[in-house]
Symmetry: C2
Subunit: 402 residues, 2 copies
């Protein structure tokens, strides 16, 4: 059996994801689709709309055969780290290829960019330093250095200003560093841009657009055309049980508590909290009545929204720099769910996996897994605050089977 891997958040699963899975299978001629999915805290530094169990079910009902959890330290990491954890996990479960979405749907420019930056690494770094010294911002310097470097070897390259392209580039970079090769494939994204609002004429919308609709309209039926019926059913089941979808605003009383309980100095212990911002965090944390107000007060040119949210994620979960930087590679394969097809794949292959397959957590001494469980506990407290109901615990939930 041949497996293709995908790296996902499914926040929530929508028609675009469905299309991606179908195409990934078709293009790679794979028998099995394996998704490495983020748990409860995501790459943009946000808690997931609904818990990982509901999201895993959506995936399995729509063509994914195995759902593997991307550990917290990678799922909340910067693009390089996120991509490295995900690709290494896909390699660990012996995927022959992995497929990611991109604007142009052509793998060549990605490979060209990767090989260019790899071949001229020192020169690239020197160019960045030079441009930074001229007084422009770091992202601007990166861009200028890249533009300059491209002139060395005129080819078709990707635009590193697009969020999906950056992730794709890091996937390829991570795959390139692996001992056992895994083939990159890219699938053209259709209709909706990464952050686009929804458009009622289409059946595909971005997850960001769908979430916005869910929060703004406080009703489900406006998004029904953008998600498979089974996804819709999962969203409906969630809202019936928990009364609200999850966003930082939902967790605000706990987030605020976690910010202002610390002295500014203590805040800098937490992962991704850069020196200098701690005073603003505490000061504005005290004076804000909502997450929106807080973000408007701490946002500055110096920090992107995503970067701020990632700091807040680690402050909320209490994960320190030391904890986050203790690992560079996944140490286990955490199974969240499987189809019968996925189960057959596991039976045939798991004895050769390089990492232990964990399908149920009784207790663990693995510190990386302990962080995942901790992150779930913290997510659950936030959900409880809003709904008075817990989510399924990591200790007692077996992998979902469909």
């Amino acid at each position: 059996m041949k497996a293709v891997g995908v790296v996902v958040e499914y926040n929530p699963f929508h028609n675009g994801h469905y299309h991606h899975i179908e195409q990934a299978k078709k293009v790679t001629n794979a028998d099995v689709v394996i998704a490495v999915m983020s748990g409860h805290f995501l790459q943009r530094g946000e808690p997931a709309l609904i818990d990982k169990w509901h999201r895993a079910k959506m995936a399995l009902q729509n063509g994914v055969d195995l759902v593997i959890e991307l550990p917290y330290i990678f799922s909340t990491g910067q693009a390089t780290h996120f991509a490295k954890g995900a690709i290494e996990l896909l390699a660990a479960v012996h995927c022959e290829s992995f497929a990611f979405g991109s604007e142009q749907g052509n793998i060549e420019p990605f490979l060209n960019t990767q090989s260019l930056l790899n071949d001229y690494r020192d020169e690239y770094n020197n160019l960045i330093k030079y441009f930074v010294s001229t007084g422009i911002s770091y992202p601007q310097a990166l861009h200028a250095a890249y533009e300059q470097l491209k002139l060395k070897r005129p080819q078709n390259y990707i635009d590193l200003g697009m969020p999906n392209n950056i992730l794709g580039f890091h996937y390829i970079e991570a795959a390139y560093r692996l001992k056992h090769k895994i083939m990159p494939v890219t699938i053209k994204r259709i209709q909706a841009g990464f952050h686009d609002d929804i458009n009622s004429q289409l059946t595909i919308a971005s997850a960001t657009g769908i979430r916005k609709e869910l929060f703004d309209r406080e009703s489900l039926h406006h998004i029904s055309q953008y998600v498979p019926a089974s996804s819709y059913a999962q969203l409906e089941a969630w809202i019936l049980n928990y009364q609200c979808f999850i966003q930082w605003e939902t967790f605000w009383p706990l987030l605020q508590f976690s910010i202002i309980r610390n002295t500014p100095e203590e805040l800098t212990r937490f992962a991704d909290v850069s020196e200098g911002i701690e005073f603003a965090l505490v000061k504005h944390g005290k004076n804000s009545d909502s997450f929106a107000q807080f973000m408007s007060l701490i946002k500055s040119k110096r920090y992107t929204w995503t970067r701020l949210q990632r700091m807040l994620t680690h402050i909320y979960t209490g994960i320190t720099k030391e904890q986050l930087h203790a690992f560079t590679s996944p140490t286990y394969i955490r199974l969240l769910g499987m189809s019968s097809n996925g189960q057959a794949y596991l039976s045939a292959n798991k004895k050769n996996f390089e990492l232990p397959l964990i399908s149920r957590v009784a207790s663990t001494k693995d510190p990386m897994l302990a962080l995942d469980i901790h992150a779930s506990d913290m997510y659950s407290l936030g959900v409880q605050l809003a709904s008075n109901k817990k989510i399924e615990g990591d200790y007692n939930t077996p992998p979902i089977r469909i």
Copy 2:
């Protein structure tokens, strides 16, 4: 003008407190009553029923002329520390005497006990060691050592098994160590024991009994006979604004979050958290749905209820062992409120006070005061969680004047 001091929590102010103030003035022939009052977290390790501003107002409306805040590190400390902070503050504002409540209303046995333990300090410690070595518990060993010591010099002594007596003893001990003497006086407590339930035939009930009634019956009018009309009005004003009285149960979602966000190892950083209990705190913190359930799970013979609650106070506020143990004496006099009489006293005396008088906090570099402000912020977050309303902030509330 002659001042008598009292050490209080007024949680809430009741007829027994009124009686105590009247008697204290009468017995000492004082013109002014100065109360050193705990802020938002109290000696038994609990958040106050209502905030310090409402409690200060109750005091001023019922015969107290100046309300000085007992800093957090003393108000939440063990009896020795609590008493030391309070008596030193009363001395700092030049009280000639201080009056505390006791069961027998006679100061002599207190002085006898203090002098006995002082004269035979080494022998007392050796006796304690000996009794501990026979296998009995530490409180039992203390008791046995004291009984043995009393035989040395037969006199009238206090029973150190009574909570008010222990506090009284520590007040006298603290006063004894002061350079400028302050005279101890004790006022006989009338009608209600420290923890007694209320009795509808009486007009005096313990604060514990009154709080129990407030929480059990969820109505105010059952307690009207036990509190002055002005106290009743303050309680009524509070409940109208904040919808509930404050207890740990009110703060539970935040307390639970503050417990389980840490690893057990990290919990031991917080003040009063003894080594060994951290695992139980985290484990039961995860599995409890209420404060009552949590306490029933962590309570054991080894720790008293008060001791556990004090740990939880410091975990909730995030105050570490290092922060709590950085101070042994108050460094300022924080004025919460004054009557016109109290104001006249201040005008006449404040230039001679040994500590700075702080009547308004704009910003502070005093680390002890910063902890008080922090404790208020944390109390306010808990109140907000329940009522969506903040309490008066430490930065913008001037002393109450009546």
